[in-house]
Amino acid sequence: MLGKLIKYDLKAMNRFLIMIHVFLLFASVLIRVFFTGRVLTEGTDFNNENFVLPFFLFVVLLIVLISAAAFATQLVIAIRFYKNIFSDEGYLTNTLPVTGGKLLLSKTIAGCIWGAVDMLLLHISLWIVIGTPYVTGLITENMASVWSELSLTDKGPALTFQALLLLYIGTCLIGVIANVVLFYASVAIGQFVPGHKVLGAIAAYFVINTAVSVIMLIVMAVSGLLGASIHPLSASFDFTIYIRNSLNLAIICSILQTLILYSVTYWIMEKKINLE
């Protein structure tokens, strides 16, 4: 039954998300062909005034494009959850012979699959846009010095490229899952505001985000990641260790946040469904 639920959840999201990502990739190819492919080359004078303005516009365009695709993906995932569970469609979904927990699991898996695909396609799109032969050449040339900083060889255990890549992918995936669960929890909590369910969901989203940020700040302060000693110019400050500790803390907080919010949503789906 879970497989069937996931199939229908993916199917419902595919229509919009395939369109959005085909457009993203198409726009990226256009930008590469007509702009970055021409300017990110050996002969370009990067200090030239004629280069700076178009380059600035390009950066803005790229940020807008990628943010819009990421935002649209998250919106489609959240809307699918709301419509399928709490609007008219909920009258069918909630009378299927499956538990509320299974419905939530199905939607979480489907949402995370699309979240991960979105993340992958955003990276591919970024690479299409900036990965000109000139840029890849620059990266290869300077890889050794970049790597010696990133691999932290003299400041702790050495990281291999594969380990760093896995860490990056793992962090991205945790972020994707945390986002999907946060959206679902917000929508589910929003249902307790009669007559203003969507507004309730938006308010819940901001309240949860603010609460998580405040808790993060407190934990950072308690664990010594905030304070007078944390200053880039301070003698005792070690940037790589600071980043590593911050990343560890962010990952732990994300996992905890996800577990708590998933449990809350699960409880609502199992015990508190009220389609008034």
Binding site: M1, K4, Y8, A12, R15, D88, E89, G90, Y91, L92, N94, T95, L96, P97, V98, T99, P194, K271, K272, I273, N274, L275, E276
Partner: protein, 233 residues
């Protein structure tokens, strides 16, 4: 034998603290067609949603075949809400596949036959159908299940009188003799000939629970006339 539906002190209040259902005690036996009748706001839809697990009761409980609403009861209850619950971008045949996938008692051949009878193309998307045609599709889906309890909320409200007759015939022809149909409607005149029993609800409480034959023989009135008398404004 366990009754198909038993409500024990069933209550539901909404946020304004007014009771939509107030301590309802009700038992429905198997093999009957029961009309759930009452004016707007009498608690009909609330009762139907509670039976289907779409609302959490404030007090008491509804037992379907002896069980609280859950996965097992959803397997045996076929529910038609008073709104369109299918995804508009779905084709009619996709909706049939959907029901086949999730309900073990769904008979797709029966569904296709009814679609042909009502001249509804299975290849069209639901969003291109009229409101009445969508209601017909939903009723076909619901009546194509071999359920033990059919709960139909306003099944004929949005369709023309000709289709209404077909739908009523469809309901009569497609349910198992041991199954029970609980249907709510305002169109009492159209359906009273198919009903075995009626329940009149007012302010969340039953004011009448009687066999239709009793009403006709003892009170010498049709259900429609009695309804107008009981609920006169």
């Amino acid at each position: 034998m366990i009754p198909i539906l038993e409500c024990k002190g069933l209550s539901k209040s909404y946020h304004n603290n007014q009771y939509a259902l107030d301590n309802l005690n009700l038992t429905l036996e198997r093999g009957q067609i029961i009309g759930l009748l009452g004016p707007n706001g009498s608690g009909k839809s609330t009762l139907i949603k509670l039976i289907n697990g779409l609302l959490i009761p404030t007090g008491g409980c509804a037992l379907i075949n002896g069980m609280l609403p859950g996965v097992e009861t959803k397997k045996i209850v076929s529910y038609l809400p008073e709104r369109t619950y299918l995804e508009p971008s779905m084709k009619v045949k996709d909706a049939i596949t959907y029901f086949t996938d999730f309900y073990g008692d769904f008979q797709s051949e029966r569904a296709y036959k009814m679609l042909r009878d009502l001249e509804i193309d299975a290849n069209v998307r639901l969003k291109t159908l009229s409101k009445g045609a969508k209601e017909k599709v939903q009723l076909i889906l619901v009546m194509s299940r071999d359920a033990m309890l059919y709960v139909l909320d306003e099944p004929i409200g949005g369709v023309d009188p000709a289709a209404r007759d077909y739908i009523l015939r469809t309901i009569l022809m497609n349910y198992n003799e041991d199954a029970t149909i609980l249907l709510s409607t305002h169109l009492i005149y159209d359906i009273e000939n198919v009903l075995d029993r009626v329940i009149f609800l007012q302010n969340g409480r039953p004011v009448l629970n009687a066999a239709v034959d009793e009403i006709r023989t003892e009170q010498k009135k049709s259900v429609d006339v009695l309804f107008r008398e009981v609920f006169r404004c």
